[in-house]
């Protein structure tokens, strides 16, 4: 069954068209990667899927309901959002940031309850950040901050996580650690993930980790191809869209098959 479904969705800022005829289905428990060059419309699509931007034509449905007819609080119980970079306005404690994930369960004039605090702590525990609970989150590194953002999303207790290039500002190790956390969550909780990314190998990483993965390759406001990672992330498609020569390699090792696509050189 599909949780999120877009049907010929288009979006434009004034006269400028940013998304054109996007059709997609995100199935329960799968990893759906949005991949494509800078400026192709990934972030805009993410905002539309979250109901923050309203499509100018076509529809986006969340569990069969038109997202335009849903209130922010209703959407927030289905979809949790992890931004690319989080701006830290005040040195809140880590736990206070994670507690914000409970807003959609709390009345406008109420405070978070004991159970909300417990949910927030459990969420921190699941990303391995519970020991940072009382630290000001301005003192965290980029990698730790992204894990706190994941914890906040988990505190929302939604069936779907929507992430916009969540590893864009992380170093080599933190990026891998972040992906590992996501894989563990998907396996443990059957959570569905939609993730925009700049790296084709993210999709292969999820597939190598035995998670049901699909990729939509975006280019210039549209979907160029959609399907399993090795159907979409082909040497030909890399050439056609990025004008690069690349090599898809598969390697057998003790825990299974490893697939990666190696960039080799650009064409003029």
């Amino acid at each position: 069954m599909s949780i999120i479904e877009a049907e010929k969705a288009s979006f434009s800022y004034g006269q400028q068209n940013v998304l054109q005829n996007i059709s997609m289905k995100v199935r329960e428990g799968e990893m759906f990667c949005l991949f494509g060059p800078n400026g192709c419309g990934k972030t805009t699509l993410i905002q539309c899927l979250l109901g923050i931007l309203k499509t100018s034509s076509g529809t986006i449905r969340l569990r069969g309901r038109d997202i335009r007819s849903m209130k922010a609080v209703e959407i927030a119980r289905e979809l949790a959002y992890i931004p690319q970079a989080h701006e830290k306005p005040f040195p809140y404690k880590v736990i206070d940031v994670v507690l914000m994930g409970r807003v959609s369960y709390t009345g406008l004039f109420s405070l978070p309850k004991k159970e909300d605090r417990k949910t927030a702590e459990e969420a921190l525990e699941r990303v391995g950040m519970l020991s940072f609970k009382d630290k000001p989150y301005t003192q965290l590194s980029g990698g730790e901050t992204q894990l706190v953002m994941v914890a906040r999303a988990l505190a929302q207790q939604t069936p779907v996580l929507v992430m916009d290039e969540p590893t864009a500002h992380l170093d080599f190790r933190n990026e891998l650690g972040f992906l590992e956390t996501i894989v563990r969550l998907v396996k443990d909780t059957k959570i569905t993930v939609v993730m925009a990314t700049h790296f084709p190998n993210h999709a292969f990483y999820f597939e190598n980790s035995n998670i049901e993965s699909r990729v939509a390759l975006m280019n210039e406001k549209m979907f160029y191809a959609q399907g399993r990672p090795d159907e979409v992330l082909t040497e030909y498609n890399m050439y056609d869209i990025f004008k690069i020569k690349s090599k898809l390699i598969a390697h057998q090792w003790e825990e299974g098959k490893l697939k990666q696509i190696l960039p080799i050189k650009t064409y003029g």
Binding site: V73, A76, P83, P89, F90, M100, V103, S104
Partner: protein
Amino acid sequence: MAPFLLIFISLFIGRYPLSMGQVIGVLGIKTGLSATAPLPIHINVVWDIRLPRAILGALVGGSLAVSGAAFQGLFRNPLVSSGVLGVSAGAGFGASLAIILFGSDTFYVYAFAFCFGILAVVLSYVIGTNYTSTPTIMLVLGGVVVSSIFSSLVSLLKYIADPYEQLPSIVFWLMGSMASARFKDIAISAIPMGVGMAGLVAMRWRLNVLSMDDREAQALGVNIIFVKGLAILFATLATAGAVCVSGVIGWVGLVVPHMGRMLSGNDNTVLVPTCLSIGAGYLIIVDNVARTLTGSEIPLGILTSIMGAPFFVYLLKKTKGRGW
């Protein structure tokens, strides 16, 4: 609790010396607990001057501090104060206009100050609204524009005001004072201040979320336009209610929230009540100094910063600007 204690202590402070028994006597007769009539002058000093001033000080201080904290959260900027959307400048213009049109001791001064304070915020909001969203930077710029317009208009009014009667009244009003406090004034201005403060205290946890990026806050389940508008409404009611009876009192709406941040952290569920207490207590103390230090009144706006600055520097040094 501290503000209530300070209100009580304020009853003993002043240039007319009163003993503990005399103050209790006045309170006793007024609350119907005692029957022995104190001297009329004592009743006058305690019940008609010191008590209303202390209560008003608490209300005004609390309002300015709480709305300052709310605006800082809302605008994700620790440098904004309760006057960021132009409410002080607008109220200043309203009061000046009323002083010139109707004289300085009239009800019109409150009414005009309040209405123009609100009008200024509405203008800032309209200027800052882009399609259906209210981006922070646009709102702040809207506030800057509106404030500067009203400040210029105040200068214009000062320029054309009668220099012997009206001009001193305007200047004195703009420097802030509790001197006009009577119970009937408190009763009127306490409504917007009370509603504003109560509203902000009630929705204080939402202020945490509003300080996040708008898109994040919306994805967390907040109806941004509505909740942000509501917070602005409450903060504006509190500030306009305060400014219209007390004049422009700077510093409280900017620095008290920072004192609160240093003492209690940045979580608004704790910060807002803390600011309420500090702001209320602080203005009671400052007003006590204002009316006792010299034979005539010292304008509050002068004292708030002169007295607050050393304390603020002390806090900065002690906490080493922790967290910033």
